[in-house]
Symmetry: C2
Subunit: 635 residues, 2 copies
């Protein structure tokens, strides 16, 4: 096995040198001429001037009569003036002003008697006449170069006789997916099939930026095949991406191939995710080696390809929308890299709170959920909880203000609640993070959430939530709102092939358990059951294998990498697992004072009590409802 | 002539009742199923759930060897562990974890000796393994309903085995242009031809909003023809616009026809522009009668059609981006109407300044130039200069911060300057308003502009600008920056058919003069020439006919509605007019202290002194350059 070492070039330096190199080679915007009606949203290639005036003739601005103003002088209520048919012309709005006339009188102000037009007020010269060029004068600059064309600008150009316009051509960006294991997206892929959805993500990003993506067929991991594909794409495109194979493993050919058809300027950046990026070129055409993990790929696209697209479309870098936020969890970072952390954002109690999302490079859902990006500079070991940070917004700030934040215990019903909330009010959004019941209560104490799902058993008396709320909120300040009863139990493979009879069996040799994370209500329940049933957690294979949601536990069992795990009935049902019920627990929503009187919380309480929510829960299964939305207790 | 009276319904009331009526009739979003890769930017029709987990198998997260963690326990630097070929499997990133293995060791941490893999650190169970569902779990809600689909969401759906998605269908909006005088856009239209560019504007707006426009051929002003077109469009579209004929003139058939094929809910709104709008329907299909003037049409589209499109696309009304600004000119408004005033905005001296643009309904260029909309409520007679107003932004606030404001005397060179500035820095913009030299100096005194073009003659000594600056700025605070010398003269028709020999001739009977507005340097020059040449302005036909730019004066002469007017050589050249030179005057840029040290002003001074600016002026003609950009004097 050959092992190559990558560079660790700082991003800013590598990027600016790379762009300068490409510009020196001739990378620049290209112009094309298109019909004006098709030009909305495109960028002008150069300044656009009016060909003709608008209006291009003196036009009547009212329905009425065109006259010579001098003929009307002296007209008043007491001295009306009668105009003979030779002295006036009936006109409609938009008609050309007839020769010899220099004013228009509105039809409402004229009385017609026996062919004469009687008026009681003199007309001022040029009244109700749209002068030539009132709107636009021939020769006038309508739009400067490198300016986006708005709908109104389309109208202005057409009005000014400009029927075609030179715009900047959309750069054509070729995307070459590579990899032996890579297959087109499928509803039912085989183990080991890596679905090629990066090109769909990249294409959508490119379209959003105004470029024109061209996706090539998947190329196997063979140097000659990749080279042939790259050479072909370079003939047809302005820029080319080779997706994956950009790292330094035994089947990573991208760097070698780029070096053969052109030149590698830099391989390896001091960024995380995205470090194995390749910055290459042939002549002025950029060739990027983009890492295979989608999150790495997205970062490389944004940081390296977007500036090149902007350059070709005559756009400045612009200023990203930034906001100050408070970090809700500690983030550890490597000194070696500048790190891009996806965060969820919520406006809670007057502050913007940033909650870091899962950071794995493969976690494409983290980008789907992200409201912003937090950058941790190279040379920093990370940031402590509570730090004031600057985040780049991915959603409009005004949307964040209308987003209900739910941090706490996971239950699929929260997603249904989010859907129903947005359905009820399209301007309202809900974002939920799963940190377990205890994590949710901590988030309330730190004023980082509007509500928290919670199901914490008090072992002493078998009640839920009450005891812990009293302890956690000795000064009060929270409402305990009834939500659902839900059935917890042991999930096992369909047909229960290992004959598991109850929780006590999880320590049996040959049984692979999968657990929930510490602090989650379900973990606390499992710990309690261990004590009750005399199970030694240290003897349970997989007791320290932690998943963060009920469905993730179910997924391991369904996938055959675990045999048993605690979870709720609805999760077992999704995966068709067998289920050994253990208890019905109480799942409440804990809502702090500071969020209680907000319209969003009010609406959620209404939804909880409504028939649609009940129907959704019946669909999920395993829930009982008593009086959802009722305040159980105020602390 | 039949004269119909229109309603004057308040907009908010009419709109909400109209929408409620349409919803009661069944107007609602429609769903359609499309392939996920084509769904970027579309709205989900309902919640989308994951079909499969991502990853869908336990995957190796590193290139290296897959092992059973238990086989590695005890490995350390001092007690390395050798794994036999049966105990490890070579794996690449993305490979499925082989059966019986539960951990991956990175290739960098393995030494291979005679087929054995030697490791010096124990592997933790599940290390470097991407668990099933690490990213997404089957059954998990990926996106709520009525949510825009981002590029990352496309990736997440495909990763989760979701290959097709139900999205909200783009509402199809038919546009029927009507009018006998209406012709398709042409480079050289005849007098009286009204070019039909509204459908291009409306189409571009609809595309921007996510709807699907369908433009029908122009229909003549005949009731039966319009009815046939409307009936046809209603078969094919979700909504239909009848453009023009919505007023109450003798050829306005829209209301009658809408009443015949369906129902008119309201004809006439208390808004300006846009009052003759018709709100009609057939069943749940909206039919709008849209006024013919483009500005009225744009307002009606935004205020009435956009909410209907939003409704069909499951979008909330959102919050418009608002900003506080200081009004730079008095705006008079009618008590009867809620008025939408287009404004230019500039960030000057720490305040946002709103300058009202031309308000004619036909002035489509005002929408092209507008940075914001100022609403004046019904029942208000207008707003005084200096009033704090709230404006709805049409451009991002951050762009406004980087916009150089030039208010003052008009010269086409300012547009060239704007083009060169934006070319030099794509993040810099320039917006210029033409209010004459005196208006520019007033704008500086009110801290409303970063610079002002100025050419004010001091009759006493024939110098320019110096005397008036001393008078206007007794405390100083402005820089007088040299720009150009330019040739002023009398513009006359090509070949000078009336044999005009000089300024003194403008009072001759049969000569129609066209003037510039009071306060402009050119008007002051004309007034001076009148005195000098003994011309009585009251005897000059058209001396009170005021245009706001050199090109507008030239356009009147070229169009044959005037015979002579003062202006600069470059304007005469654009229109091919004859030109009788009168003087070479000095055109300076006056720049206040408070703008002097800004990067944008610095850049403009650089551009003034550069060869590109000189080349542009040579193109325009009639300019002399001495040392443009030099500070003549500081006051």
């Amino acid at each position: 096995m050959v092992f190559q070492y990558l560079n660790n070039r700082p991003l800013d330096e590598a990027r600016s040198q790379y762009i300068a190199l490409l510009q020196a080679q001739g990378l620049a915007p290209r112009a094309q001429t298109i019909p004006v009606p098709a030009a909305a949203g495109r960028m002008t290639a150069r300044a656009v001037y009016a060909h003709i005036c608008a209006p291009h003739y003196p036009a009547c601005a009212m329905d009425g009569i065109a006259v010579r103003a001098a003929d009307t002088f002296g007209a008043s209520d007491t001295t009306p003036v009668s105009l003979s048919p030779e002295q006036y012309t009936l006109v409609d709005t938009g008609d050309p002003l007839p020769d010899g006339r220099d004013a228009v009188i509105m039809v409402e102000e004229v009385v017609f008697t026996q062919g004469e037009a009687v008026i009681r007020q003199a007309a001022a010269p040029w009244q109700h006449v749209r002068q030539i060029g009132e709107d636009i004068c021939a020769g006038e600059m309508l739009l400067p170069g490198h300016t986006p064309i708005s709908p109104a600008a389309i109208g202005a150009m057409l009005a000014a006789g400009v029927l075609e316009v030179e715009v900047l051509a959309k750069p054509v960006v070729g995307i070459i997916p590579t990899g032996d294991e890579v297959v087109p997206p499928a509803a039912d892929p085989k183990p080991g099939d890596v679905m090629e959805f990066n090109s769909a993500i990249f294409s959508a990003m490119l379209e959003q930026w105004g470029a024109s993506p061209r996706v090539y067929p998947i190329v196997p991991d063979r140097e000659d095949a990749i080279r042939a594909a790259l050479e072909g794409a370079l003939e047809e495109c302005d820029m080319v991406l080779v997706n994956a194979g950009s790292s330094a493993g035994r089947e990573d050919y991208a760097a070698a191939v780029i070096g053969q058809v052109g030149e590698v300027f830099c391989h390896g950046l001091a960024i995380q995710p995205g470090k194995p990026a390749i910055l290459g070129r042939r002549g002025a055409k950029p060739i990027l080696g983009v890492p295979g993990y989608p999150v790495s790929g997205i970062i490389v696209m944004e940081q390296l390809l977007r500036p090149l697209v902007d350059l070709c479309l005559g756009r400045g870098a612009g200023q990203p929308e930034l906001a100050q936020a408070v970090l809700s969890r500690r983030v550890v970072s490597s000194l070696k890299y500048r790190e891009f952390v996806r965060v969820r954002l919520g406006q809670v109690g007057g502050r913007l709170v940033a909650a870091p999302l899962a950071r794995g490079s493969g976690v494409v859902s983290s980008f789907m959920k992200a409201d912003g990006i937090l950058e941790i500079p190279q040379g920093s070991e990370g940031l402590e909880v509570g730090t004031q940070v600057q985040v780049r917004l991915l959603r409009p700030a005004r949307e964040l203000e209308r987003t209900l934040v739910a941090i706490g215990s996971h239950d699929p019903l929260l997603d249904e609640l989010a859907d129903l909330l947005h359905q009820a009010d399209p301007d309202a959004f809900m974002s939920s993070s799963h940190v377990g019941s205890m994590g949710g209560l901590m988030a309330i104490r730190r004023r980082e959430t509007h509500m928290a799902g919670c199901h914490l058993l008090n072992e002493a008396d078998g009640t839920y939530n009450t005891a812990i709320l009293e302890k956690q909120f000795p000064q009060g300040g929270v409402y305990q709102v009834e939500c659902v009863g839900r059935t917890q139990g042991l999930m096992v493979a369909p047909g229960n092939p290992l004959g598991i009879t109850g929780f006590g069996d999880i320590a049996r040799p040959g049984i692979r358990y999968v657990n929930r994370q510490k602090g989650s209500g379900t973990r606390i329940l499992a710990d309690y059951l261990c004590r009750k049933e005399g199970v030694d957690p240290a003897k349970v294979y997989g007791y320290d294998r932690e998943e963060f949601t009920h469905t993730a536990v179910a997924a391991q069992i369904a996938g055959g990498t675990a045999d048993a795990g605690m979870g709720i009935l609805s999760a077992a049902r999704i995966y068709g697992l067998d289920f050994l019920p253990v208890c019905v627990e109480q799942y409440d929503l804990i809502i702090p004072d500071y969020a209680w009187d907000t319209p969003m919380v009010r609406r959620v309480l209404d939804i909880l009590a409504g028939p649609e929510f009940r129907a959704r829960l019946e669909q999920l299964g395993g829930y009982t409802l008593d009086r959802p939305g009722r305040v159980r207790r105020v602390y």
